[in-house]
Structure formats: structure tokens, C-alpha cells
């Protein structure tokens, strides 16, 4: 094995989401290890493409091995290109790279047909897919949350038809197509046990999916905190995420409002700071919610600053109202050595088990109670901090991935210097 092509549905230079960031980190790491590796991302859809591409331009190169394709917009229900010529182009491009390993992070914007044809054209290559969410199972944005807002525990033709308002037969076709596509991969990887179990319940054979967390490079250890520092941090809570309904920021704000309404007086001030969202963005989504005084919006942050910022807080809150898979914010909290208060479902429950507090998903009162239970408690904070293990770094991730996928390494030093410079 020599050449790896990492394929992602998006490119982190244009959009910054968990899957594409994990894919790009892997690319950068492999490149730094002198491996023969290419990265192929895509714009999300026609709007992004129009911003960055010329009218006939199909690809932007961010480096000799780093490409972003022009995304035409793909219906996530069909997971196929609406026009065959777009599929032809991507297929021919990926084929031209002559990968020995094709590692897909997601398949949206790539297309099931592209993968089938590439598999047929490269029968001896190794095909790997990291499953970042539940899109193959769930046609409602891959979140397994029904349009009515309730959590979904299992897909079925009839239940999905009722949720997404399409005929049941459409889901028969979709599932067949997705199962068939996933069967083409030599290895399926999942960053969480939760995701693996959901896929197995859905129809993927047990043992087909290996669980390996996404790699995250992080600095070693931080100096120990004094008791006074711990006490101060025990009153400081933070949220990191986007203003989307499923991230549950409204649950947090309602919890803060309950705390404020309780009239309790604290010796230690209680503050909740929100990163990734500004107040305008919040108000647009939840115009009827008043923001309590203890909540401050800090707006956007640089991803590379995240761990450092988290370090300054006692607790990171992740109140998502969907299952989540393996949110990078949990890995970053682990890297920062900061415990979490998390919704008690899915990837959040799994990934914070042992070192975090969990509350009933979507329940502001339960979240308020959890916050109050640790507020001003330096001892509880210290105890939880002590239980945190560091997330897997990229070196270990790659070693584990290579072992799981039986990939033999072969250095390819000639391109490293120029590529690193370009990247």
C-alpha cells in the first residue's frame, strides 16, 4: 500500500464541521509523516461553489495534494448526483488519483454511484469509510430526530415515511442503496460505540464496524490547579457550539433562567458563557427567549484556541437534543482537562461516561439542577478532572487505523516539503 486518498464531503478551508476537520487533520498528519496522500474535499453546494469557483471551474487546489471540488448540491435522500456528468467528473477525478487506499469521511457530495463505480474500477484498492453521523439511516438530516422533535430510536419504512412525508417504498430503495454502498467498503469505522450499535441495529452485520475515535492533537499536561483556582472555576460554565436547534442552546438558556428565577444567592458568582454563537444569532433562532444576566455571548472563536479557552472554565456544557456521535467538543474538553455536563443520550452519554455529569436530554430543570449541584464545589470539580483521560492523538489514531484496516505504510518523502509549505 502506498497512496492514500482522503475524501470528504466538505473542505475545512470553506466550512468547518467535525467530519471534514477530522478528515483534514488525518491528511495533514499523514503528509507530515511523508506519506503519499491526497485530500479531496468539496464545496457544500451551489451557493458556496458560486462564491469560490469560476463558472466552468471544477476544482480548486489548495496545494499539490489538496483539492476542493465544485459541489453541485446533492439531495441527501438519494445520495446521488442529479446529473450523471457531475458523477462522471468526480469519478474520473478520484480514479485518476490511483489511490491504493480511499478513505471516505462521509459520502454526501461524493455520491453512492461514484463510490460504486470507483470500487468497480479499483477492485484491489482498500476502501475505508468513517461514519460521522446517521445520514445513511436517517433521511431527516441524519440526526434520528423526528420532525416532530422527538428522538427516533429506529428507522423503519413506515415510521420514516410518516416523519419525512415520502412514500414508504422510497425508504426501501434508500436503505437498499445505502447498505449496498456500505458493503463496498473493506472497512467501516465509527468514532463511537453508539453509532456502531445504531448501524448494526439497522442492518450492518455485527463486527463490520470498528470503533476508533477521531484523532486530535493536543499538548501534553497542564500544570496542576490550586484549590482557589478550582473554586473559582467551579462557578464558570461554558457552551461551545453552533446556533442550530439540535445543539440545545435553548435548553441551556432556559436552565439559566430557572436558576436566576429561583432567587438563590451565591457566594461564588455563577456565569455561563456561550462560544460559537452571538446574541443576534441566538435571538434569530429563539426570538421569544430572554437571556438571563448570568449568560454572556462570546461569539466565534478560532478552533485552535478552543482547548485553551476551555481550560479557563470549570465545566463545559453540551446540551444537544439529538444523539450526537463523537462531538469534537468532547475531545477538546478532554484535551483541556475540563469535565462536562452532557445530555444523557447517544454519543454524549458514551463519551462523557465516568468523568462528566449527565442530565435528562432537553430538560432545562434537570440541567439547572446539574449546574447547581457542582457550582462552588471545588472538590467535585477536582474529582471529575482527575478521571479525565486524554483523547487519542493523531499518531495513535493513525496507528490504530492502520492496524484495524491492515494498511502497510510506505514512506513517500519527495512531496512532503512542497506540500507542507503549500498547505
Amino acid at each position: 500500500m502506498s497512496r492514500t486518498v482522503i475524501v470528504s464531503h466538505s473542505h475545512p478551508n470553506l466550512r468547518y464541521g467535525g467530519g471534514e476537520v477530522a478528515a483534514y487533520r488525518q491528511f495533514r498528519y499523514l503528509l507530515a509523516q511523508d506519506e503519499d496522500v491526497f485530500f479531496v474535499g468539496s464545496t457544500i453546494g451551489p451557493e458556496d461553489s458560486a462564491k469560490f469557483f469560476g463558472s466552468s471551474q471544477q476544482v480548486i487546489s489548495f496545494g499539490p495534494r489538496d483539492f476542493c471540488l465544485r459541489g453541485r448540491g446533492m439531495d441527501a435522500f438519494t445520495m446521488e448526483h442529479p446529473e450523471i456528468r457531475d458523477e462522471d467528473w468526480i469519478f474520473e477525478f478520484l480514479l485518476a488519483l490511483q489511490g491504493d487506499v480511499y478513505h471516505f469521511h462521509h459520502f454526501w457530495n461524493i455520491g453512492a454511484g461514484t463510490i460504486r463505480r470507483l470500487r468497480a474500477a479499483r477492485p484491489n484498492a482498500k476502501f475505508i469509510c468513517t461514519l460521522h453521523e446517521l445520514t445513511a439511516i436517517c433521511a431527516n438530516h441524519g440526526q434520528m430526530v423526528k420532525r416532530s422533535g422527538e428522538l427516533c430510536y429506529a428507522a423503519s419504512e413506515v415510521a420514516c415515511a410518516a416523519c419525512v412525508a415520502r412514500p414508504p417504498i422510497d425508504f426501501v430503495l434508500r436503505k437498499t442503496r445505502m447498505i449496498e454502498m456500505l458493503a463496498l467498503f473493506d472497512h467501516l469505522l465509527s468514532p463511537s460505540e453508539f453509532l456502531r450499535m445504531r448501524f448494526e441495529d439497522w442492518g450492518i452485520a455485527p463486527g463490520r464496524i470498528a470503533v476508533i475515535e477521531n484523532g486530535l492533537d493536543h499538548h501534553g499536561s497542564f500544570p496542576p490547579e490550586t484549590e482557589a483556582e478550582l473554586l473559582a472555576k467551579s462557578g464558570r460554565f461554558a457552551f461551545f457550539g453552533q446556533a442550530t436547534p439540535t445543539k440545545g442552546l435553548d435548553v441551556l438558556i432556559r436552565a439559566a433562567a430557572l436558576i436566576e428565577a429561583s432567587g438563590a444567592s451565591f457566594d461564588l458568582p455563577l456565569s455561563i458563557e456561550v462560544y460559537g454563537v452571538d446574541k443576534d444569532g441566538f435571538t434569530r433562532l429563539w426570538p421569544d427567549l430572554d437571556v438571563p444576566a448570568c449568560v454572556q455571548f462570546r461569539g466565534r472563536y478560532r478552533p485552535e484556541d478552543c482547548v485553551g479557552i476551555m481550560r479557563t472554565y470549570g465545566w463545559i456544557i453540551i446540551p444537544s437534543v439529538w444523539w450526537e456521535n463523537s462531538p469534537v467538543v468532547i475531545q477538546e474538553a478532554r484535551a483541556a482537562g475540563t469535565p462536562m455536563i452532557a445530555s444523557d443520550i447517544g454519543g454524549m452519554a458514551e463519551k462523557t461516561a465516568g468523568w462528566g455529569l449527565q442530565f435528562r436530554v432537553g430538560d432545562p430543570a434537570a440541567l439547572a439542577a446539574a449546574i447547581l449541584s457542582v457550582h462552588g464545589r471545588a472538590d467535585v470539580l477536582a474529582e471529575h478532572k482527575a478521571r479525565i483521560t486524554k483523547p487519542i492523538n493523531l499518531r495513535d489514531f493513525d496507528a490504530e487505523r492502520s492496524r484495524m484496516c491492515e494498511i502497510q505504510k510506505k514512506p513517500f518523502p519527495s512531496v512532503q516539503a512542497e506540500t507542507m509549505k503549500a498547505c
Binding site: D75, T78, E80, H81, P82, E83, I84, E87, D88, G113, R116, R117, A120, E157, P167, P168, I169, D170, V172, L173, T176, R177
Partner: protein, 520 residues
């Protein structure tokens, strides 16, 4: 009575046309020893008699009820008017119909047309049809709106199959015993229109009162069917009651897609207040009987190249066509031609076919896109018909395997084993519209198809009839699909709903039921 013409129609009705000054002549027909009173007597004004009194007369006698010993062709027939007897000669009974059309005065000709429109006389031979056409060709249209009546046509449409319907309203100034009636005319064919006068609620016409007689049910509708699809333009002759001097109002017939006509008829049907009349309208547009298709000879020839023509009712999303084709492709013994039962090829469908072709290992090409099946110039070895949803959920292996050359019907019938006789199977197959796949050699397939009239919206309805006949005749291998969970497709034109909520398949099922009820 002065007799001008007399003739007998195909239904055994003798018509005697002439004139008399008597108001109520006492007419009888003596056929050998039998004496018949008139079935009907119609009167009309004749200008050649220089009177405004309805002295013109056509009397109808029904000979079809005579016992089997009496042959009208050989019998001695006399018309009795009181004590006066006139012999009706057999050769004139055969020929006078044509003579009336050729040389009869306008008023008696128009009276004859009315009797034809009312289905009291059946003059269906092509020669008389041609002569009537020739005489009507230059006949002027009556006015739609006069002091004595108002007539409107909301729609007058016909499908290419020759099935048509007219919808409108008619308001006479005074009540008339005669109904509004109509004939449909195309090529050399003249067929009566089944008119449902005063059948549709039209409260919106109240503004025409008191100029015309408003009843609140002044809407009419009517349906017809030419036995053969017309080649040329069709016209409708709407005959105004009481107007003896003009043939009627000519209305051009608009040719529309069959589904548009069905939609219009369904909408009109919902407006008919009497449920029995609703069926009459639909039935008028259908053939009187359905044939039983029969295989000319059992097809046992082996497949040569394994080429398959797949006639596909794609009832899934357009993009899913690719998956349906990919699903069957590994099981094909040879090349696949696709005949897609869609009105047009959308870009997504085209892309789906192209995508499937990119991945196919055997040849795959699109033979045609149409709601109607067409026989390819080069006959494939076999034909397979299915809906996409059925094909995708059935196991394609046995369906496409090059086994016997006998016709094969694969169907989904979860409780079919309980009803194991061919009759019961066929009945359930038709009544419950069971999902099925028909596979058979191409030559007998198209030969059989030619025997099924083109009177349905979907080709599936014709093929279901064909498959049913094969099941009943024991001419097909019958396989049951072993599926515990099955969903029908709900996309594509055949799944579109009409105003009564039924889709095309249900519309066809009702058509078939109406034909069978009428012919029972």
C-alpha cells in the same frame, strides 16, 4: 299514411317513414301471423307539405321479439293504418335506409338522426355512415342561443383512443318531451352519444330565468366511443329538441391526452346527482365487452440471444430508476431494452438511465418513452412488464432467469395459497390489483396484446387482462413472490389522483368493472 321509406336496422327494428294528416294514426305491423304495435312514433314538421303541423312521421316496430319461427327477411310484412294495408317489401327493408339518407327531405333525415342519437335505431354500416357524413358535411350549425333555447358546451374532448365526453348546459324556453341528444362523427363513423340531460346541478344558471326555463339541474354530460380510433378530426352534433329544420349545433371535438379526459369525466361525474347516471357516463365511453385473449400456439421456443424488452411503469422517484435497472441488471442473460411508461423523459430519468448504463455489464438502452406500449422493429426474445416498485421488491433472479419460454406471472398474493384454484386466483388477481410481473416471449406477447382493446388509461390494465386470461387458461407458470413486507410506489403519472381521489389504476379497475357489469 303515405309511406316514403321503410327499412330494418341491425337490431331488428323496422322504421317506417312517411306522413299523415291524422293526429294519432292507428298503425300496426303484420309480420306473417304476428301483429306488432309501434315501439315509438315520432312526428316532425315537413316544409314540403306546406304546413306547420307535424305531419311527418317515423314509426318504429321491434321485430327482435318475434319467435324463432319468423324470419323477418323472409316474412310477409304489411303496415296497417286503420283498415288500410301496405306491403313492405324485403329488398326495400334492406335498402331504404340508404335511400332516406340520400334523397329524404331534410326534416325526415334529421328525424332519423335523432332516432340514431337516441339509440332507437342502429344504422352502423360504413356505407350509410359515409352517406350521412356526406350529407352532413355542409350542413350549417344551428345557433347556440335563440329565443327558444340556450346551449353551452363547457368541454368537448376525446382521447386518441376514440373515447369522448361532452359537458355543458342546455335550457329550453319551454319544457319539451324530447331530450337533448347528440351524435359523434369522425372519419366514416357515426356513433350515438349517451346523453345525460338535466343531470348536473347548475345553480349558477339561475340568472337565465325567466328567459329560459331554469330547473337547477340544467347541466348535461354525455359520453361516446368510436369502435376504432379516429384518424381525422371529430365533431359532435348536438340536436336541439323541437328544431325540425336544422340538424343541430356542431361542436368541434378537442383531442386531449386520455388522462386529461378521464380527469374531466371524473370531475363531471362528481357533479351528476344520480349515482346510476354516473356509471352510464363512464360506460358509454367503454366497449360493450372485453375479449378473452388467447395464445395462438404455446410458445416453447428457446431464447436465442436472451435480449429482454422491459416495459416499466416507473412508479418511484425519477432518480430511483437507476437503482431499479441496476437491481435487475446482474440477472439479465442478454441485452436490455427499456420501454418506459412515462409521458416524457425528464432530465433526472435520462440521468438515471445513463447512470445505470455506466454501471451495466450487458448492453442497456432506452427503447422508448411513452404511456403506450409500442412493438419494437426488431423483436426481442422476451418481454417483461412490471411496475418499478414491484420489480425492485420481487426477487429478480427467477424473473429474469432464462428458464422456460412459457409465459410466467409472478405475483404477490399473501393469502393466495388459500385460494388455490385458477378461477379464484384470477379473480383475486383482478379484484385486488395484486402486484405482478409478466414475463413471456415477445412475439406471442404482442400478438396477445393486439387482442385487448385500447380502452384503459394504463397499459397495466390491458396486461392484467392478458395475464388473467393466461392464468385462467393454464397457459402461464404462476409464481408467488415470497415477500413479507411490500410497498407500492406512489410516484409517476399512473399514481396521480383524479378529483375523486382515485388514481389511474383505480380508474381502470372501475372501467373494467363497468364493462363486465354491462356484459354480464
Amino acid at each position: 299514411m303515405n309511406i316514403d321509406f321503410y327499412f330494418m336496422d341491425k337490431a331488428g327494428i323496422v322504421a317506417v317513414a312517411g306522413w299523415t294528416t291524422e293526429l294519432r294514426p292507428t298503425l300496426r305491423l303484420h309480420v306473417d301471423g304476428d301483429v306488432l304495435i309501434p315501439l315509438a312514433v315520432t312526428r316532425h314538421v315537413r316544409r314540403d307539405l306546406r304546413s306547420s303541423e307535424p305531419m311527418g312521421l317515423i314509426a318504429l316496430f321491434d321485430l327482435s321479439g318475434l319467435d324463432g319461427h319468423t324470419d323477418p327477411e323472409q316474412a310477409t310484412i304489411h303496415l296497417a293504418d286503420g283498415a288500410e294495408f301496405s306491403e313492405l317489401h324485403n329488398h326495400r327493408l334492406r335498402e331504404d335506409g340508404g335511400r332516406l339518407v340520400e334523397i329524404g327531405v331534410d326534416e325526415v333525415f334529421f328525424a332519423l338522426l335523432r332516432l340514431m342519437a337516441q339509440r332507437r335505431l342502429v344504422l352502423s354500416d360504413a356505407r350509410i355512415g359515409r352517406e350521412i357524413q356526406a350529407r352532413l358535411r355542409l350542413a350549417p350549425s344551428a345557433a347556440r342561443e335563440t329565443e327558444s333555447h340556450g346551449l353551452a358546451v363547457d368541454s368537448c374532448q376525446m382521447a386518441a383512443t376514440g373515447q369522448g365526453a361532452v359537458i355543458g348546459w342546455f335550457m329550453p324556453a319551454q319544457a319539451s318531451a324530447e331530450p337533448l341528444c347528440a351524435l359523434a362523427v369522425a372519419d366514416e363513423s357515426i356513433v350515438p352519444v349517451e346523453m345525460l340531460a338535466d343531470s348536473m346541478a347548475r345553480a349558477d344558471l339561475s340568472g337565465y330565468a325567466p328567459r329560459y326555463r331554469f330547473t337547477g339541474h340544467d347541466g348535461y354530460c354525455g359520453g361516446w366511443r368510436f369502435s376504432d380510433p379516429p384518424k381525422g378530426a371529430a365533431r359532435l352534433l348536438l340536436m336541439i329538441p323541437g328544431d325540425d329544420f336544422r340538424p343541430g349545433v356542431w361542436v368541434p371535438v378537442e383531442t386531449v391526452p386520455a388522462a386529461d379526459l378521464a380527469r374531466q369525466v371524473t370531475r363531471a361525474t362528481l357533479g351528476i346527482e344520480d349515482v346510476a347516471d354516473r356509471s352510464r357516463l363512464r360506460r358509454a365511453m367503454l366497449p360493450p365487452i372485453l375479449p378473452v385473449p388467447r395464445l395462438a400456439a404455446p410458445g416453447e421456443t428457446a431464447h436465442q440471444r436472451g435480449d429482454t424488452l422491459l416495459i416499466l411503469d416507473h412508479d418511484l422517484a425519477d432518480s430511483d430508476l437507476r437503482d431499479v435497472l441496476r437491481h435487475v441488471e446482474p440477472h439479465l442473460p442478454g441485452r436490455l431494452s427499456l420501454q418506459l411508461l412515462r409521458a416524457r423523459l425528464s432530465p433526472v430519468l435520462q440521468s438515471a438511465v445513463d447512470g445505470a448504463a455506466r454501471e451495466a455489464t450487458v448492453g442497456l438502452h432506452l427503447h422508448g418513452v411513452s404511456l403506450s406500449m409500442t412493438q419494437p422493429e426488431v423483436m426481442p426474445d422476451r418481454v417483461i412488464f412490471a411496475r418499478s416498485s414491484t420489480l425492485f421488491q420481487f426477487d429478480p433472479g427467477p424473473i429474469f432467469a432464462p428458464r422456460s419460454a412459457r409465459p410466467r406471472v409472478t405475483l404477490l398474493d399473501p393469502i393466495g395459497t388459500v385460494l388455490a384454484t385458477p378461477d379464484a386466483q384470477a379473480e383475486r388477481f383482478v379484484r385486488d390489483l395484486l402486484p405482478f410481473v409478466l414475463s413471456m416471449p415477445a412475439a406471442p406477447f404482442f400478438a396477445l396484446l393486439d387482442q385487448v382493446p385500447d380502452c384503459f388509461l394504463t397499459e397495466e390494465a390491458r396486461l392484467r387482462l392478458l395475464a388473467e386470461a393466461l392464468i385462467l387458461q393454464g397457459a402461464a407458470e404462476l409464481d408467488r413472490a415470497d415477500i413479507h413486507c411490500f410497498f407500492e410506489g406512489r410516484t409517476g403519472p399512473h399514481c396521480e389522483s383524479f378529483p375523486d381521489g382515485r388514481d389511474w389504476h383505480a380508474f381502470d379497475a372501475q372501467s373494467r368493472q363497468l364493462i363486465e357489469e354491462a356484459s354480464a
